[in-house]
């Protein structure tokens, strides 16, 4: 798998990561590793009630404690705007106010009410505990039913009810489809609330220089440029004076695709006290204050003919927004709507999404962001349909895959490319045949184990673009990405990217692109990201967009560098531009390979800049902003095998095969790694994870003791395979892969457990208790 120094480290090779050595030796620099002279520490006083009016805040005791510089409430810090939301699907959606520090009313447990600024984190935490908040509790609204109930307490006064937004999409033929259906299947799927749990919590260091009025903010974020823009808007400072830096970031998964109250509060507090302020989120705080994900019910109905060909789909998704809108909260269930029919050519649809507020932590993007919900619902229904019409779960899928490409879904999305049968065929090749599986099933039964297997055939939308489309669906930002490629006089290269990696290995992959495009050796290339002082505006890393948008920007910037270098080389070789070949990092005259100059020599000459061709400017330094013509739609087929213990209901995954197609790949090793992590995340949802609130709005599993993310012992060996169907939407033919595993795994695992115990569906997480109870109610035990 590894490559040696002599081999190419260009596109398509499993090149080992250049990022690794600092992480392996403890020399990474995450937010909490940053110290600035005079820096103070912030601790946050959070609401203990889910819904209450604040009747008093007594900070007297806290102010007098050792080491305390200030105790600040919503009355002490001025903000020009609330915590921002960048998605308004209908354009006229009312977006409730959300001050960074609560004013008057709190709407979820964990909402920030006050902060303490102190000499160290222990002193800050002690004093935060000494702040006394008086509350007049209001009835908490917890759960979708409570939010929609007649006479439910209203969470936001700006709205008539707890319904925040309704979205619909209906095609003309839907009623006819149901009228002529020979088979109708109907089911409700609960997609439980999840917590992201990147291993690094959030953290901020804000340094507002009182003399220069310059604000530097280090944040554990996926979106440093958005952070700069919103710091300017919310805190009232010129955007030109703000520098936002994402240093090494310890995972995100969508949790850090947000600008949070604490980022604005830390900045304002730094301004107030005239010193740098650090805030590092505690884990139990993260569970209460960082956005959650999923929390959606789907009521789905499929109309089909007797062969299992789906004629129409009716779906009503009910999304729990939580208490407020985060940066992209409204987008998430909108994405569920967009991808509702999944990988299937369903001619007609009638889709409704009802979004409701509850007194819980706001929900937003979590690895997959709306697509796992869509995929899980349609995949469960396809399994149920297969059972109903008496065909296999693979056959029902085959009969509904799009027959012709390019394919336009009933939602109106043009899927860029696909060959869904190919990934399914490969999955079946790698799986036991029916006979072998049946024999193993019998053998397992003799041991008291119920063997089952399941699958999902998934497709997703990623790299949202073009910007005309992101605008049309109500997103504030566009869908483009930027890159600068700079050749130095000594022949080394710097790539500046607008993506903001937090584990994805962009420094490695982008270097591979440059080696291929310019012939500059991989080890001579440095990649800069995550610092608004260096980079042209970049949108960041989320939605599996980095390679198909950001990577293409790198490729195009390199192409521009090469085009300019060709002109300089022509002058140096006294040849015409059209008469030059470029290979192995050198230009040569066609037919005279000895007449050559390397790209490094050209870079030196472009820096010296004498005898330049007419109209060619000095330097080799090009910037590209790339707005793709379409999204990409990666796809695949995942298979899962489980053993269920007949006596306890405990599920063990005994086999997992992921066959994915993300078009061409830059680095197969990194792609496989993304799939591994995604699958583990999806297994977590299927078997272990789920945030539980009581009726008062207290989070019952708000630590890693009770919220179980999978350990190595809970994740199986994962087999990864790929097929290659290039995307026609970009010159490298690449698609996203970051969220694929998560989208695919959850329905595949549920499908397998249902198969093992002989039930149509199971609620997640499929704990031993859930599975055991299902077996008692008529499963195959």
């Amino acid at each position: 798998m590894a490559t040696t120094a002599e081999q190419s480290k260009g596109i398509g090779e499993s090149v080992l990561r250049k990022e690794d050595s600092r992480f392996l030796t403890g020399r990474g620099r995450y937010v909490d590793d940053i110290k600035i002279p005079g820096m103070l520490h912030m601790a946050v006083v959070r609401s203990q009630y889910a819904h209450a009016d604040i009747t008093g805040i007594d900070t007297t005791a806290a102010r007098g404690m050792p080491g305390v510089t200030a105790v600040l409430t919503g009355d002490d810090l001025e903000f020009l705007a609330g915590v921002p939301c960048g998605s308004n699907p209908t354009g006229d959606m009312v977006q409730p106010a959300r001050p960074p520090l609560a004013k008057g009313r709190v709407r979820h447990v964990g909402e920030p009410i006050a902060v303490v600024i102190a000499a160290d984190r222990y002193a800050a935490r002690d004093a935060a505990d000494a702040v006394v908040v008086d509350y007049a509790p209001l009835q908490a609204v917890i759960g979708l039913d409570a939010a929609l109930a007649e006479g439910a307490p209203r969470i936001h006064e700006e709205l008539d009810s707890n319904v925040g937004l309704i979205l619909t999409h209906k095609t003309e033929g839907i009623d006819a489809a149901f009228a002529k259906a020979e088979v109708v299947v109907k089911h409700t799927i609960h997609n439980q609330r999840l917590i992201h749990v990147p291993m690094e919590t959030r953290g901020v260091v804000a340094d507002w220089n009182p003399a220069s009025d310059e604000l530097t903010v280090y944040s554990s974020t996926q979106i440093p440029h958005f952070l700069r823009t919103f710091l300017a808007i919310v805190c009232g400072v010129s955007e030109a004076k703000v520098r936002a830096i994402a240093p090494d970031v310890g995972g995100g998964f969508g949790a850090k695709l947000n600008t949070y109250a604490e980022e604005f509060i830390a900045a304002a507090a730094s301004h107030k006290v005239g010193a740098p302020v650090k805030w590092i989120e505690e884990r139990s705080e993260a569970m209460l204050a960082t956005c959650h994900g999923r929390a959606q019910d789907a009521h789905v109905e499929l109309a089909a003919d007797s062969n299992g060909k789906v004629l129409g789909m009716r779906a009503h998704y009910v999304q729990d927004y939580g208490s407020y809108l985060q940066l992209l909260t409204p987008l998430i269930s909108q994405l569920t709507m967009l991808m509702a029919p999944g990988a299937y050519a369903i001619p007609d649809v009638d889709i409704k999404v009802t979004n409701v507020y509850t007194n819980t932590v706001p929900t937003d993007a979590l690895r997959g962001a709306g697509r796992p919900e869509a995929t899980h619902a349609i995949e469960r229904l396809m399994d149920i349909l297969a059972e109903k019409v008496g065909i296999s779960r693979t056959e029902v899928r085959r009969r509904n895959f799009p027959a012709e490409w390019p394919f336009t879904s009933p939602i109106g999305l043009a899927y860029d490319s696909g060959d869904y049968a190919k990934t399914l065929d490969k999955l079946l090749e790698l799986s036991d045949d029916e006979e072998t599986f049946a024999r193993r099933r019998t053998e397992a039964a003799a041991r008291g184990k119920l063997l089952g297997r399941g699958l999902s055939t998934w497709v997703e939308i990623c790299g949202f673009a073009p910007s005309d489309v992101t605008h049309a669906i109500g997103l504030t930002p566009g869908g483009w990405e930027s890159s600068t490629v700079r050749m130095h006089p000594t022949g080394k290269a710097t790539v500046i990217t607008g993506t903001s990696p937090h584990g994805q290995g962009h420094a490695t992959s982008w270097s591979q692109i440059i080696e291929t495009e310019l012939g500059v050796p991989f080890d001579d290339i440095e990649v800069i990201h995550g610092d608004t002082a260096f980079a042209p505006y970049g949108l960041g890393t989320y939605g599996s967009r980095s390679v198909a948008v950001g990577g293409i920007a790198v490729h195009l910037a390199a192409t521009k560098v090469r085009d300019k270098a060709r002109q300089v080389a022509a002058q140096m070789l006294e040849a015409s531009v059209d008469d030059l070949d470029f290979a192995g990092g050198a230009f040569s005259v066609k037919g005279s390979p000895d007449q050559r100059v390397t790209i490094q020599e050209v870079a030196f000459r472009a820096w010296q800049a004498f005898d330049m061709p007419e109209g060619v400017t000095p330097g080799l330094d090009e910037t590209v902003f790339f707005d793709p013509p379409n999204c990409t739609f990666p796809f695949g087929a995942h298979g899962c095998e489980v053993e269920v213990d007949r006596d306890t209901g405990k599920v063990e995954i005994t086999g997992y095969i992921a066959v994915d197609d993300c078009g061409n790949v830059i680095n197969p090793m990194i792609v496989a790694g993304q799939v591994h992590g995604g699958v583990a995340h999806g297994i977590g949802q299927a078997l272990y994870e789920g945030a539980v609130y009581d009726t008062e709005g207290q989070l019952l599993n708000g630590t890693l003791v009770d919220y179980g993310i999978p350990s190595a012992a809970e994740v199986p060996h994962i087999v990864t395979e790929r097929t290659v169907t290039p995307s026609p939407t970009n010159p490298l033919g690449v698609k996203g892969i970051g969220e694929a595993g998560t989208i695919a795994a959850t329905p595949a695992v549920v499908s397998a457990v249902c198969d093992a115990i002989g039930v149509a569906d199971l609620d997640m997480p499929m704990t031993p208790e859930t599975v055991w109870n299902a077996m008692q109610k008529g499963g195959a035990a």
Binding site: S21, G251, H502, I670, H681
Partner: protein, 155 residues
């Protein structure tokens, strides 16, 4: 009330003034500036803070600095020799056993001790041996491969 604690850290005697409640991980990170040891939870579940105390892997968020007074501590910064990566670090690199890198120091410190106790583990033994260290990026596939590789055990 602060008092002095003295311990050997990565082979060097270090002294710091700490409160009785100061956690070893905070002593290492904030007093000694050894920031390779991370904090990922507040309940001793994640293992990002794993260091060696007298040669055994411990979670340094669950050890008070004063408990380490007079003892020997090794952190991720102390396991490379003469600029060469430890074999386990090299194995993590070669198998792509890390992504965001946050869990990596703790994972490496645990993995080395795992092999000291069981030089030829099965995959299942590796997975159970790493149960106390959480990773959200890799799905553990390549972490297990790294430990297997460092042990010289075939897949």
């Amino acid at each position: 009330m602060k008092s002095a604690v003295t311990m050997t850290v990565n082979g060097v005697s270090r002294t710091a003034q700490t409160e009785p409640r100061t956690l070893l991980v905070h002593l290492l990170r904030e007093h000694l500036n050894l920031t390779g040891t991370h904090v990922g939870c507040d309940t001793s579940n994640c293992g990002a803070c794993t260091v060696w105390l007298d040669g055994e892997a411990v979670k340094s968020c669950t050890v008070l600095a004063v408990q380490a007074d007079g003892h020997d501590v090794t952190t991720i910064e102390g396991i490379s020799e003469n600029g060469e990566l430890h074999a386990m670090q090299q194995a993590f690199h070669e198998t792509h056993g890390l992504q965001c890198g946050f869990c990596t120091p703790g994972m490496v410190m645990t993995a080395i001790k795992l092999l000291e106790h069981n030089p030829s583990p099965t995959d299942e033994e590796i997975r159970h041996g790493l149960e106390g260290n959480l990773c959200r990026c890799t799905g553990y596939e390549n972490i297990v491969a790294a430990v297997r590789s460092a042990a010289g055990v075939a897949a």
